[in-house]
Symmetry: C2
Subunit: 112 residues, 2 copies
């Protein structure tokens, strides 16, 4: 072990994670958001949703070779993590990104 190093880093800069101590309760609150993005299908879903103001579920499903219920399941995970929101209009359901949620996660990671 300890051999998987191949990148040189600048040691003095670091991220928002370094600034607050992040107690156990905070970690339990935040981790589910990262977890939601930790699946390739959900990450692509999030990117697709983020790439427009809102996206219909039918347009999401058609981008994958997965069943409708599976996409629906992943959308629910993203929704329950607070990363997206949805709205039904007629037969269709439209999903939108919640930029403030993604942004707060980003701030944790961003070098400052």
């Amino acid at each position: 072990m300890c051999q998987d190093r191949d990148v040189q880093t600048d040691r003095d800069a670091c991220c928002g994670l370094a600034r607050q101590p992040l107690d156990s309760a905070g970690a339990e609150r935040i981790a589910p958001m990262f977890k939601a993005l930790g699946d390739p299908v959900r990450l692509r879903l999030a990117a697709l949703i983020a790439s427009d103001d809102e996206v219909c579920v039918c347009d999401l499903t058609s981008q994958f070779t997965l069943s409708g219920p599976t996409i629906s399941h992943h959308l629910r995970v993203l929704r329950e993590a607070g990363l997206v929101e949805c709205e039904r209009r007629g037969t269709w359901v439209y999903y939108r990104i919640r930029p403030e949620a993604l942004g707060s996660l980003g701030a944790l990671l961003q070098v400052g």
Copy 2:
């Protein structure tokens, strides 16, 4: 469903995810990093490691009520995701953050 909305967002700003299409291969490459941060223990470990230049495993283990092997397992996940690196010096092993990895994740999420 569709009731879990409680925050108002500004619709025109969004994150790096929106800018590139993020194909399947890209998602498979990036998702494991989010996944690694998607566990409360690992998120706290990352925060602890980030809060200093380097941290000894013994100082990490003492912060949790988990067994040594469990901490070691989580550190391995963070390591294999490329988020941290380690170095043995004598009996002890020290972990460091890889800020460029966290930063690139952050850029994906950050509103810009």
